[in-house]
Symmetry: D2
């Protein structure tokens, strides 16, 4: 690890212009080592399928996938000469396409470092100010196009499995001890540069499209606290933290956690994204990994390449084994 300090983690250590954070640690060597973990050729899809009915945080924009062009519509509309028989299309070729209206923060996500701001000047990671780098068309610093392709060792920590429950209860704070216990039971460790995915069991209720809002909301509030996050980053060198919930951290935070960053509704986000430059993986489907007891793998993910967006959204990261 180039800039990680045990007991301290990372922080704003990559230069004044950096938008990448600790993913700068990835090297050809680390990627190669991660891919060496693949011995069976299995590919686990960690994505949760999204549609207009999917559970999401209520503050986000709604999702609509709307048939934009359809074979019947193309034929009826006749707005493009080349689609008509007279235009040569005697075989009747047509197409489906859709207009997507959606949030950049839904379903399986990777939070970019610019997602969260904090403090009187609304600063994001590395001190970039929202007033300077925001705008009408999304964020102009640390948007998702600055997130490099992620290829790294991944470890799944099955806390729900350790507790022998389908899913952790509402608002449950996953502690350092929970994580250490699960790692011990799984006989795997978090080494510096590892992406850590923590299983609460919530994704088991996603189903076809995440339409059972009540059930999902109930378990979605479980997650790690600030103590566990700090231990993973500062003592273990975790390259990114993730979970099978919409927000990784338990909510609402206890006063001590909230006050640790000066009063916040999501102190773990502030700590990881803004203060440490550590990305957050959300709503990753860990059910198949748990069923197969796959605890160590090569994690491979890329966000969409959409300028201005602050989170990869509706992704399908891979656990390769």
């Amino acid at each position: 690890m180039k800039r990680w300090t045990k007991g301290k983690g990372w922080g704003w250590v990559w230069g004044a212009e950096d938008e990448v954070g600790n993913l700068n640690e990835m090297t050809d060597q680390s990627r190669l080592a991660a891919l060496k973990l693949v011995t069976q050729g299995k590919a686990y899809d960690l994505g949760l399928p999204y549609d207009r009915n999917s559970y999401k945080w209520p503050g986000h924009s709604p999702g609509e996938i709307i048939s934009f062009r359809s074979p019947a519509g193309v034929m009826t509309q006749k707005d493009l000469e080349f689609t008509t028989p007279q235009g040569g299309n005697t075989g009747g070729t047509a197409w489906h396409s859709n207009a997507i209206f959606m949030s950049d923060n839904v379903a399986t996500q990777i939070d970019g470092l610019g997602h969260i701001t904090h403090g009187p000047n609304n600063e994001l990671y590395n001190g970039f100010k929202a007033s300077e780098w925001g705008g009408d068309f999304g964020l102009r610093k640390a948007d998702v196009t600055t997130i490099p392709p992620i290829v790294a060792r991944g470890v799944m920590v099955d806390v729900a499995g350790l507790k022998n429950v389908d899913a952790l209860p509402s608002g449950y704070e996953i502690t350092r001890e929970d994580i250490e216990g699960a790692l011990r039971a799984q006989n795997v460790d978090v080494t510096p540069g590892t992406i850590v995915l923590i299983r609460t069991g919530t994704a088991r209720y996603w189903g076809e499209n995440g339409k059972d809002h009540a059930k999902l909301a109930q378990h979605d509030s479980s997650g790690i606290g600030l103590t566990a996050a700090k231990w993973l980053v500062e003592e273990k060198g975790a390259l990114a933290l993730g979970s099978d919930t919409s927000g990784l951290e338990y909510v609402p935070p206890k006063p001590a956690d909230s006050q640790a960053v000066g009063g916040s509704f999501n102190p773990v986000h502030v700590y990881l994204l803004m203060q440490q430059g550590v990305h957050i993986m959300e709503f990753h489907n860990l059910e198949r990994l748990a069923a197969d007891r796959v605890y160590e793998f090569a994690y491979v993910a890329t966000t969409n390449a959409i300028r201005g967006t602050v989170a990869g959204t509706a992704l399908r990261p891979l656990a390769l084994r």
Copy 2:
């Protein structure tokens, strides 16, 4: 290869309910073999960044990335109690998020098998009828959520390099001979199960966001013809065909190519997607591969998990080497 027949390719050979096409050929063994090609740990991002100004086919819906929530807006709007100081947010945590309005057919894409329909009954791959499987919220058969994670051997065929041009001229038809010539010059072959990405050079004009529509449009019309497509699928067993243009095939098609499928404005699409069940990779950025003379690699890509959409859009596939 399980169902490929030399001289014939695939077709509707995977059963009446199949929505996957020839990607059914992928196995643990084939994925493992593909990943074995990675010897250096380099990850080439094949995605082209998209924004509201990006070049796209004019029939698609426009793209807008609109700042939905912003720190200033959250503070002014005060619509969520927990974001206010009284609600405990004394440290002033806020966030950026965006509303995305876009087509499912822009920038770097993987066309799903349901994208194209053909014939008097508007059939897509495997005979599914648009009138039965379309709908108001996107396609209900062969949408992108049915595309499995793609991990396969990839080969880049640098036709622009062979011709020693920056980019192929407008409407140029890439022939079987061009491809054979480039493969010979590169000393690499297409073996059954290979994903073939053909370079026209068009993507070199994409730049930050594809805003030079005139320049891109000029070269974007070059691509393979039906003869080259058939040879790659039927004789060589290509698992998927792609390029650095918006449509893979040269346009407009010559009458013979159009008539070969009964009259069509994009006969190669009809042949590959509908008749053969072979996916198409579009607008892949092959410039860095060409610069580094990387011709063989592990291709890894997943589409977004958005139900109803017919193409992975604004993707960042990887060439791992």
Copy 3:
């Protein structure tokens, strides 16, 4: 009245190409007569304000009003030269504009004749077929741009007032007798060419933005039945029927009403829009008229001029008195 027949109403009597329906009855003379009813110069705004939280029928697309350009965004984005000091804008002129994403069927509406289809061939008014006149970009026959400006005598029928209730109960069917009773109590009559607005009291719960979905849903299901609709059109010559609910008619319909048009979830819509060519006014705010006991007035309304849309939406019709 040019084509109205007592005991029969209108129907498809305006020629094979007609998209206007019984609004063809309006003449200079009828408009002038309607405006003569204005003796005080009072203008009652019948519109209900719409925003992202407003109650609407769940099958419609969501509403988002998103700040698209803002002074802070314009200044930060610097994408337009003329907005910068160097471009001459030393005084700092900027602007607000919004991106609207909404349904064409929300808040205060006028249903166009193409809104509803019925029967095995999905026919709309005058026998136009959806398969021929639909398309990808809205309806191509009887869209709202074919609705002429409406200037006509209006009568408000205060059924909630007659019953001495705040609002009619859930699912209540307003009968011909209810309407006759209210007209008698109000000492006003429906003459041929009159627009009839029937008050259930539901709009009193709309408030700032219609956010009390539960309360609105409770009363929104009251409305007229087929018998009252037929009497108003066929015996009284009503030019249009409206109410202060989202759908004018009581729901769900009793089997006899449903079967009267061959089985339908909204038989009054089928009868008025498709069979008779009579427009429907929905979610009109009649509270101020009721408070001032204004029962007769000049009704003036125009829809937006948006091609393809099937209902004027979020309108502010006027009752001039």
Copy 4:
């Protein structure tokens, strides 16, 4: 007139909380007087029909009218029980509805007083600051829902007719003398409280949907200058100013006009909306009025009731005669 001062006009004279501006001048008496001008019962529709191809200022969000629900889609999708035969819909009732994605500043508009900000603090009319009254979901002061129904005397000033041209040339500044000349030729005057609509002839090129961008852009830059605007407001007491162009004023402004408000790309907007509290009517179709030589009429218009939007958009104001 309650607050108008000759030689000064209005300004911020309606109290610190006012969002209405000089439309406060309208009274029952003034509305009644305006409606008395209607002697023939003719209704002139001043709206220009809008669709996805319509000309608009390039800084605005794109327009898409997308078929959201259609009879074929409803039948195929089967997502709502009551639409199925089993659910009782044996007659096959279905519907068309659309998703509208559009700017609040297109086609026939009324600019609200919050549309334009100016000065170092981005103030709008009456000193409201954008930083305080903006937000994520549109403007929270002086949005269109605060614009009262407009019923007033209207006068059309046919400058193109006076000059005997089809449309005024590109960038032409309409002067006070032009307006006085046209009024003289028309034998009509602007009295205090009159809405003044100035014809350049540009709308004659709108056609079905404003798709001839080049032709429209050419003439759209003609309009009034600051001198004419001031004369109309301060000397004549005009209640609102409008035109048949997208921006009322000629562009780009001469340095003297720009500097008169401290450096601005649209000084007439700053003067009228922000400094005087006078609304602007844009892209009003004055062609039929010109053809019939109708110069004096009752102007009746309401904006849509959409909270947060800053301009009535795609409207159909009426000239009643």
